[in-house]
């Protein structure tokens, strides 16, 4: 059993295809693991035991019938609870959607099902993906498998923790300001934010429409690429989805070569305020790239300094509008419907009771920033900053093929440490946010442990829009070099649960 849960997705799929394992055996092994450890980790909000086994049986039947199987057929996956799943609860980590059973599948959900991926359940997250620690979930925090008293990052802490605790070999996250990459970094896993528009947002509950992007999470670069290929591609249901072929990510992950590659190190994505061990591991990664034949170029992207400020105007503005639909009229929580309150009052009471403090904070912030008289100074200026950041990236990518940085300024922080200090919490996304504002693609992968706390550090690789394959080419090379150096994948150093 232990062996099954520690296999990579690629290996699992191969064994199912060869008949060495059945999809049902694989699903059962993971369900058993969830049963055994998730009480401690709390990665899942909902485990769909029946659905998972039914899907696994269908895969086995397909194989028995000699039908062709996809590259991830029968591989279990943990789905962030932000994607709608027909007939299976979707809460977005919020009380306001408690008990809601969506009548439709998100495009990502549908593509996973069509690819015969076995969805084990829905993972915990910061409410409406707002947060960097998963502590903003209305259903309680998730523990970091490296140290259960620490956060697994956020908002996709549940997905990252599920991977790091071997409760699934694959997971899906969403990344608005770092919610895939930052959890990946602090849990020692791999997470990719594809180019904006690369993965359909249809059925992905919106936080900030112009920044949100779904993406793959895994324990290896190749597994992430295999998953990327399944979920990406044009969707006519999402107007902002890119109508172009998916970049050759799997091929890139299998080639893993950086010789002659120009790698940029951006001055503004590092320096003061970064944990010493994070800086040490990052510098080591740059040296490793150089050793692999890459040319390292130092760059400056001056507008990045304003990224966090711009992000905290744009994302709340869009969220204030996106979350307006939660009004108790058609679905979800309804408070005060006792005949003594008007519809307007029911809406207000429901929102008061259903949204947590961080969500309320952002709705208020965004409502203010969009108000007449303030729009130009706040939302308008933030959009200008956004353009400047995109230009900084354009200039950088005239000189280099990819940019690298630490994914996060620090390793995983203790649960409770930053909950009362929103600004400190927001800093966790310092390095990841510029990428969302520009719409580029980026990956985080493990680059070692910080000596001072023994916790994982993430290396961020950033590629221009539509060049997602570069992430995988560089990521695979770095991963191979590190694993060779360490003698094993980093995650094997995590404590046994």
């Amino acid at each position: 059993m232990t062996d099954i849960i520690r296999l990579t997705a690629a290996e699992t799929a191969a064994r199912i295809a060869s008949g060495e394992l059945t999809a049902v055996e694989v699903a059962e092994a993971h369900l058993a693991r969830i049963e055994a450890v998730d009480e401690k980790v709390h990665a899942y909000l909902h485990v769909d035991r029946e659905g998972a086994l039914a899907q696994a049986r269908a895969v086995d039947a397909k194989r028995a019938a000699g039908e062709p199987l996809g590259p991830l057929a029968g591989v279990p996956l943990a789905l962030k609870d932000i994607f709608t799943t027909e007939g299976v609860p979707t809460t977005v980590g919020s009380k306001i959607l408690e008990g809601w059973i969506p009548p439709y599948d998100a495009t990502v959900t549908k593509r996973l099902k069509d690819a015969d991926v076995v969805i084990l359940g829905k993972t915990n997250m910061d409410e409406f993906a707002m947060g960097s620690s998963t502590e903003n979930s209305a259903y309680g925090p998730t523990g970091n498998p490296w140290d259960l008293t620490r956060v697994p990052g956020g908002s996709g802490g549940g997905s990252a923790a599920a991977l790091a605790s071997y409760q699934a070999p694959l997971a899906i996250g969403t990344d608005t300001g770092g919610s895939i990459r930052q959890p990946a970094a602090v849990t020692g896993t791999v997470g990719v934010k594809p180019t904006y528009g690369g993965v359909s947002r249809y059925g992905m509950v919106a936080f900030s429409s112009s920044l949100d992007q779904g993406g793959p999470c895994a324990r290896t670069v190749l597994d992430a690429a295999l998953l990327h290929e399944v979920i990406a591609g044009h969707d006519p249901m999402d107007s902002t989805s890119i109508d172009a072929p998916v970049p050759p990510v799997v091929e890139a992950a299998r080639s893993g070569d950086v010789a002659g590659l120009r790698v940029g190190v951006v001055k503004e994505l590092g320096g003061e305020g970064y944990q010493a061990g994070v800086v040490e591991r990052f510098n080591e990664s740059v040296e490793l790239l150089r050793g692999l034949g890459a040319e390292v170029v130092e760059l400056s992207c001056p507008s990045f300094t304003y990224a966090l400020a711009a992000y905290y105007l744009i994302a709340p503005s869009e969220c204030s509008s996106n979350l307006a639909r939660f009004d108790a009229m058609r679905y979800g929580l309804r408070v005060g419907d006792d005949g003594s309150h008007s519809a307007e009052e029911v809406t207000a009471l429901t929102r008061e009771a259903g949204f947590g403090p961080e969500v309320k904070r952002r709705i208020i912030l965004g409502t203010y920033a969009l108000s007449s008289g303030y729009y130009d100074a706040y939302y308008g200026s933030a959009q200008k900053v956004r353009t400047l950041i995109a230009r900084d990236f354009e200039r950088a990518f005239e000189q280099v093929d990819v940019v690298v940085s630490p994914t996060t300024p620090t390793t995983a922080f203790p649960i409770g440490e930053r909950v009362d200090d929103p600004l400190a919490m927001y800093l966790a996304d310092l390095c990841t946010i510029p990428v969302n504002l520009a719409g580029n693609a980026a990956m985080s992968l493990p680059c070692g442990l910080a000596p001072e706390d023994g916790l994982p550090v993430g290396l961020q690789i950033i590629a221009p829009a539509l060049k997602d394959d570069r992430l995988y080419r560089v990521g695979a090379a770095v991963e191979a070099a590190f694993v060779a150096k360490w003698g094993h994948p980093l995650l094997e150093e995590a404590p046994q649960l």
Partner: protein, 500 residues
């Protein structure tokens, strides 16, 4: 309803100059909704034409209906507007239970069409140019039905029912620039503008534009300023004025009300007002103490629209003959006055008359039936002329029977009555009701003789040269023949017999 003080219309216009702004919403007749694939057909079971997108379910996204964009561009072109090279949708944020997302996807500072005009013709033939500020695309809301309240409004209701079938139906909002210089004719201009716009929309085939069905809805914004003053006064916004007549009445009422307030030293409050069909009055709706803040921002779920220029030119080239030009042509062809054409327009009769002529009737009789008997019938039944249960082909057939002398006008009216009562085609009604003109000379002679015998005194007067008395005898003959005699022939026979 509180009684509102009004100044007489004449007095109001003696001191003040009205300025209007008209906002018209047109529901497009596209097969599917603006941002999803749901049907727009009317009359379906509540909430049966909905999907995650138009219900605003979490995660659902909009996709623009191309045919809605095409309709918007065609309307813009017909209104002599410039068509945007590049424009975006915007979110208009406000809470209302029948609005699924609690924002309306609309356009804000980047409308698809802007800077146009529409020439409208007043009853005396004068052409007044109404300048168009913009025409933009947006989506309709759902429909609330408030139960238990006295007036059907939300206030006092015990509960409300929500139907989202209408949510997401494409709307085009057409906004005029301030209409100045209409003076006392402002209400007439308002009515003529909406009537002309309705004709235009129908001619383009983008909507049936039936006001009674809410497919064309008008808001009348009105302010007064002292004669000679350049600065606009404070305006009121009378919402959902939903017939041509009401548009005119609402404008007139507001002119009188504003004048009464201003002339007594009061100030006009900027507010929305409700129009009351029963007495033509308006009452205060919601006072805009603080300007409603819709927090518009560009809709991030939709990509900008950049209509290719070749497409726009192709659409321009394929516009149909526009209503005003068409009416000028028809006016000449039919040989009628501006006033008569205006009446036909107001009655919604132009297409019906045209179709009747196409079916073989002459212009005069086609117009006579539609504008007379049938218009009266529509009016009594409270329906649009086009909804009267008779076809142009049937009217043309009746007209042909009259021309052939087989029916007189009186009988023709009975045939119409029969057709409207569902008794079948004109020929069938004639046969069933036995409505032929009596052309049998023997029967007619007998009837005339009978009438002379019955009315000896009258007959003597005629013999004595009093021709005016003949009417009484003709009447008697018509009575005997149950109206089926040809009156002209009866007169000839009477005079023949009595004057030799």
């Amino acid at each position: 309803m509180t009684v509102t003080d009004l100044l007489s219309y004449e007095d109001a216009l003696a001191s003040y100059d009205p300025v209007m702004g008209l906002e018209v919403h047109v529901e497009l007749g596209t097969r599917t909704k603006m941002f999803c694939g749901c049907s727009t057909a009317l009359g379906a079971e509540p909430n049966s034409q909905t999907c995650p997108t138009c219900l605003g379910l979490p995660g659902a996204l909009p996709v623009v209906n191309e045919s809605g964009v095409e309709s918007a561009i065609r309307i813009g072109l017909a209104l002599n507007c410039e068509i945007a090279q590049w424009c975006r949708f915007a979110r208009k944020n406000y809470f209302y239970p029948d609005m699924p997302k609690n924002f309306q996807t609309s356009q804000y500072d980047e409308p698809i069409a802007y800077n146009g005009y529409l020439d409208v013709q007043l009853e005396d033939g004068e052409v007044f140019r109404v300048h168009i500020e913009r025409a933009h695309m947006e989506e309709d809301t759902g429909k609330s039905t408030h139960i238990g309240g006295a007036t059907g409004r939300i206030h006092g209701a015990s509960h409300s029912l929500l139907d989202y079938n209408r949510a997401g139906i494409p709307l085009i909002e057409i906004v005029t620039k301030p209409i100045e210089g209409a003076g006392a004719r402002a209400p007439e201009v308002a009515r003529a503008y909406v009537a002309e716009l309705r004709e235009l929309i129908r001619a383009l085939g983008v909507s049936e534009a039936r006001m009674e069905m809410g497919q064309l809805r008008c808001d009348v914004n009105l302010s007064l300023r002292p004669l000679g003053e350049k600065k606009f006064g404070t305006r009121s916004e009378t919402k959902n004025v939903n017939s041509l007549r009401s548009v005119e009445r609402a404008a007139r009422f507001e002119i009188q009300r504003h004048a009464a307030v201003l002339s007594s030293g009061g100030t006009i409050v900027q507010e929305t007002r409700h129009f009351h069909e029963e007495d033509g009055s308006t009452t205060s709706g919601r006072i805009k103490e603080e300007a409603e803040d819709y927090r518009y921002f560009p809709e991030p779920d939709l990509v900008p629209i950049a209509p290719p220029r070749e497409w726009v030119e192709e659409l321009r080239g394929s516009l149909p003959e526009l209503p005003l030009a068409r009416r000028e042509r028809l006016k000449k062809e039919w040989g009628i006055s501006d006033f008569e054409m205006q009446s036909a327009l107001n009655a919604g009769a132009i297409d019906l008359i045209t179709a009747t002529i196409d079916a073989g009737a002459d212009a005069a009789s086609a117009r006579k039936w539609w504008m007379g008997e049938l218009a009266r019938h529509a009016n009594e039944a409270g329906v649009e002329l086009s909804e009267v249960a008779i076809t142009p082909q049937q009217v043309a057939r009746i007209s042909a029977l009259v021309a052939a002398g087989e029916l007189n006008d009186k009988l023709a009216r009975q045939v119409i009555e029969g057709v409207l009562a569902g008794e079948g085609d004109p020929d069938r009604v004639v046969e069933k009701r036995g409505l032929k003109v009596v052309s049998d000379e023997g029967a007619l002679n007998a009837a005339v003789d009978q009438a002379i015998a019955d009315n000896a005194a009258v007959a003597d007067k005629i013999r004595g040269g009093n021709l005016a008395a003949a009417g009484a005898l003709i009447g008697a003959v018509m009575k005997l023949t149950r109206g089926q005699a040809d009156a002209k022939r009866v007169r000839e026979l009477v005079l023949e017999k009595l004057q030799g």
